[in-house]
C-alpha cells in the first residue's frame, strides 16, 4: 500500500517541481534535443507512476482483502483503529471504490488520448487533401512542396501519407535560393524526426489534462524546442546564418508586404530562434541542468523503491 502512495507522491513532486526547473534550463534553447528528452521523461514518469500506483493499489487490495487491518497498519496507523473498531466494512468499501475509480480514470485517459490522436490524424489527412486541391495542377515547388497561390507568406508541413510540405507563393518570393533550401531542410527534419507524433501526443494530453500544468507547459515547450531541433538540422546542412536569414525574411518581409503579426496565441518564438542561431548560447549549463533533472526523475523512484523495500516505515510515517 505504501509503495502506491509513494508513487503518487513522486508523481506529484515531479509534476509540481519539474516544469519550472526544466523551463529555466531550456530557456536559451542551448540543448533543445536533450530538453525534449527531459520533458518526455517527466511526462512519461508521471503517467507511469499513475499507472503503477493504480496497479499496485488494486493488486495489494486484492491480495490482502481478508486482513486489511494488518496492511493498513504500515501505511496509516490511525485507519487501523477504525478498521478494528467495527468500521471495517465502510473502509473496505471506500478503498474498493477508490481503486475502481483510479482504474476507470486511467482507462478513460487512455481512451481519450487514443480518440484525440485518431481525430488529429483524420483532420491532418483532410487538411492535406484540401492543400492538394488548392495547389491544383500547378507545378510542384522545391523538394516536391505544394505551392499555394496566396499572398500570405507561410511554410508548413503535414505528416500524412505521403508527407506534405506546403509553401505559399508569397513565401517563395520572400526567400532567396539558399534560404529556401534551408527552410525545406527544416521542414524535412520535422518529418524525418517524426516530430508530429510527439506534437500530436503532447497536444492531446495537454487538452485532456490541462492540470497539472506539466502537460500544458510541456506541450508548449516541446513544440518550441522541436522547432529549434529542426533549425539545428537545417543549420548543419546549410549555415546558421542562412537559417536565421530565412526566418527573418519570412517574419519581416520587405515592404509593401506586412509582417505576420499579432494573434493572441503564443506562436513558437521566432525571435528566440534567430537569437540562438546568430549568437549561439553556451550549451554546458543547460546540458548540466537538464542531465541533473533527468537523473533526479529517473533515480528517485529507484531510491524510493529501495527505501520502501528496506524500511517500510520510512515512507509510511
Amino acid at each position: 500500500m505504501s509503495l502506491a502512495v509513494c508513487l503518487l507522491a513522486y508523481s506529484m513532486v515531479v509534476a509540481v517541481l519539474g516544469p519550472p526547473l526544466v523551463l529555466s534550463a531550456t530557456r536559451t534553447g542551448a540543448a533543445p534535443r536533450l530538453g525534449v528528452t527531459v520533458w518526455l521523461a517527466l511526462i512519461g514518469s508521471v503517467l507511469l507512476a499513475w499507472a503503477g500506483g493504480a496497479v499496485l493499489f488494486v493488486a495489494q487490495l486484492a491480495d490482502s482483502w481478508d486482513h486489511l487491518g494488518q496492511v493498513l497498519v504500515g501505511c496509516v496507523a490511525g485507519l487501523r483503529l477504525i478498521v478494528l473498531g467495527g468500521y471495517g466494512r465502510v473502509v473496505q468499501a471506500g478503498l474498493l471504490a477508490l481503486a475502481a475509480l483510479s482504474v476507470v480514470a486511467l482507462a478513460m485517459l487512455g481512451v481519450r488520448v487514443v480518440i484525440a490522436l485518431r481525430r488529429a490524424r483524420r483532420h491532418t489527412r483532410a487538411h492535406a487533401l484540401t492543400a492538394l486541391i488548392a495547389a491544383g495542377e500547378s507545378p510542384r515547388g522545391p523538394g516536391g512542396a505544394l505551392v499555394i497561390d496566396s499572398a500570405q507568406p507561410a511554410v508548413y508541413c503535414l505528416a500524412s501519407r505521403p508527407h506534405t510540405i506546403v509553401i505559399t507563393r508569397a513565401a517563395l518570393e520572400a526567400l532567396g535560393d539558399h534560404q529556401l533550401h534551408a527552410v525545406m531542410a527544416h521542414e524535412q527534419a520535422h518529418l524525418r524526426g517524426r516530430h508530429h507524433h510527439l506534437l500530436a501526443f503532447t497536444g492531446a494530453l495537454s487538452k485532456i489534462l490541462p492540470n497539472p500544468r506539466l502537460f500544458t507547459e510541456g506541450a508548449t515547450d516541446i513544440a518550441r524546442l522541436l522547432e529549434m531541433c529542426a533549425d539545428d538540422a537545417a543549420a548543419r546542412r546549410h549555415s546558421r546564418d542562412t537559417v536565421a536569414d530565412a526566418l527573418i525574411a519570412l517574419t519581416l518581409p520587405a515592404p509593401p508586404a506586412t509582417p505576420v503579426t499579432a494573434m493572441a496565441a503564443a506562436g513558437v518564438s521566432v525571435t528566440q530562434r534567430v537569437q540562438r542561431l546568430v549568437f549561439p548560447p553556451n550549451p554546458t549549463p543547460a546540458r548540466l541542468g537538464l542531465t541533473l533533472i533527468l537523473a533526479g526523475v529517473l533515480l528517485s523512484p529507484l531510491l524510493t523503491v529501495g527505501m520502501t523495500a528496506l524500511a517500510p516505515m520510512l515512507c509510511a510515517v
Binding site: 546564418d241 509582417p259 506562436g267 518564438s269
Partner: protein, 163 residues
C-alpha cells in the same frame, strides 16, 4: 469433402476480390494512384468548367489528357461530395455537382485553417516554419538583427559576437 472444396473456393474468391479491390484502389488507368491526385484533377476540371459539372462532363475533360473510367470519376466525385468539397443536385437521371467554394475561397479557407492562431483552430498537426508574432516579439527580433549587424560591422563576423 465438397464442403471443404466450397470453403476453399470461397476463400480463394475472397482473396481474388480483395486483390481486385486493392488494385482498383491503387491504379487509375495506367498510372499508380497517389493520395489526393484524382481529387485534385477533378476539382481543377470542375473549377475550369465554371464551378459545376456532371460526372460525364468532368470525364470528358479528363479524357482529353488520359484514359480514365467513368466509375473512377464517379466514385471520386462521390468522395469529394462526402468530404464536403462538392454539393450536388439532381439533373435528370444524374447529379450535377457544384464546387462548395470557388478556387480562391478554397485557398483562403486553407490558409485560414493553417495560419489562424498558429494552426490552433484545426486539430490537424501542422508544424509551421514561423508562427505568429506580436509587437513585443517583433521589436525583440529587430533588436537581435541590429546587434547582429553591429557584430558584423565590428569585424567579429556573424555568430562570434557575444551579446
Amino acid at each position: 469433402m465438397s464442403l471443404m472444396a466450397l470453403l476453399f473456393w470461397s476463400l480463394y474468391r475472397d482473396s481474388r476480390l480483395a486483390v481486385a479491390r486493392t488494385v482498383g484502389k491503387c491504379r487509375v488507368g495506367i498510372s499508380v494512384r497517389v493520395f489526393g491526385e484524382l481529387e485534385t484533377v477533378v476539382m481543377a476540371r470542375l473549377w475550369a468548367l465554371g464551378d459545376n459539372g456532371t460526372v460525364r462532363e468532368v470525364l470528358e475533360q479528363i479524357q482529353q489528357d488520359r484514359e480514365i473510367a467513368y466509375t473512377t470519376v464517379l466514385s471520386t466525385m462521390e468522395n469529394l461530395h462526402r468530404k464536403g468539397h462538392l454539393t450536388r443536385e439532381r439533373e435528370g437521371k444524374a447529379y450535377r455537382y457544384h464546387t462548395a467554394l470557388s478556387h480562391a475561397e478554397h485557398t483562403a479557407g486553407l490558409m485560414r485553417e493553417a495560419l489562424s492562431r498558429g494552426g490552433r483552430d484545426t486539430e490537424a498537426v501542422l508544424t509551421h516554419f514561423v508562427g505568429e508574432m506580436n509587437e513585443t516579439e517583433l521589436a525583440g527580433l529587430r533588436e537581435v538583427i541590429r546587434r547582429r549587424a553591429e557584430g558584423r560591422a565590428d569585424g567579429a563576423g556573424p555568430g562570434a559576437s557575444p551579446r
